[in-house]
């Protein structure tokens, strides 16, 4: 076996064992969504969890953007040329969402009572930052709803492929089929 063939083989094996990009994105998106829902309920989480989860949420947003960089880059380059209207609106909506989340996270840090004190960083608490934090949180609910709506086809397909089908396909299989499949694997 030549080196080139061996390398191609190894590449193929890595490709097969690697989690697909869609599954990876879907998993992270679900985590971000759940974190957002939990974080919005301060009465349930308490202020400390709310703040730390908010910071983690900010970091996860960067990861989310990095994972969808190809789309961002493609639309940015073509924005003033021919882009489908849907993508154009989606792009503008995502910019709004980004700005809103930055305001949400930054004002959250500025009015922080626990996290910043733990990190030993000074904060400039202000009544207006509180207003902005609340306002941006309220706006984010609407924007996230729209963001989901614009990407619904992708979400539905991913859910069908990675949640629905594995669960229902397994249920429909007979024990003999399952044993055969496991044996083949």
């Amino acid at each position: 076996m030549t080196n080139a063939v061996r390398r191609a083989d190894a590449r193929e094996q890595r490709k097969r064992s690697r989690i697909s990009d869609t599954l990876q994105n879907f998993g992270i998106d679900i985590l971000i969504f759940v974190a957002f829902i939990v974080d919005m309920n301060v009465r349930i989480t308490g202020i400390a969890i709310h703040e730390w989860l908010g910071i983690a949420f900010g970091v996860s947003l960067i990861v989310h953007l990095l994972l969808h960089w190809r789309w961002i880059s493609a639309i940015t380059q073509r924005f003033f040329r021919r882009v489908p209207l849907n993508d154009r609106i989606n792009y503008l909506l995502n910019i709004l969402l980004f700005v809103d989340f930055v305001v949400l996270v930054v004002t959250g840090l500025w009015i922080s009572e626990v996290a910043m004190a733990t990190l030993g960083l000074p904060v400039q608490r202000g009544f207006a930052w509180r207003i902005l934090h609340t306002l941006s949180a309220d706006i984010s609910i609407w924007l996230i709803g729209l963001h989901l709506a614009f990407n619904w086809k992708w979400v539905a397909n991913a859910a069908k492929r990675y949640l629905w089908q594995p669960i229902f396909a397994r249920r429909q299989r007979t024990p003999v089929e399952t044993a055969e499949l496991e044996g083949a694997a």
Partner: protein, 110 residues
């Protein structure tokens, strides 16, 4: 290397928004937001603190002090302050502004 560059671009965009926010923070509009209806500075107001009324010259009696505690289930509700009293009437504007800012939506999110 690419990931580092992309992360830096995202952080730069976030920093630009933060800069704009900071500039807004130093604007006169921010100063207005930090001032209550009676011209009292609310920038250091925190939960659990007494909310000064417009008749702040008088003593902080239960009549003219609005307890700023939105974790209370009855926060901002009718009857949580003595209705009809001079202090309550005087602090209506303050209560109203606080309610608008913090009571909506009723779920009490942060």
């Amino acid at each position: 290397m690419k990931i580092v560059l992309r992360t830096l671009i995202i952080l730069a965009a976030a920093l630009a928004v933060t800069g704009a926010l900071w500039a807004f923070g130093n604007s006169s509009l921010m100063a207005q937001l930090n001032l209550g209806p009676g011209g009292r500075d609310r920038s250091e107001l925190r939960e659990g603190m007494a909310f000064p009324s417009r008749t702040s010259e008088s003593a902080d009696t239960e009549d003219n002090v609005f307890r700023f505690d939105r974790t209370r289930p009855d926060f901002g509700a009718e009857g949580t302050r003595p209705e009809g009293s001079a202090g309550a009437k005087a602090s209506n504007a303050t209560v109203l502004s606080a309610s608008i800012c913090f009571r909506w939506p009723p779920s009490g999110r942060h």
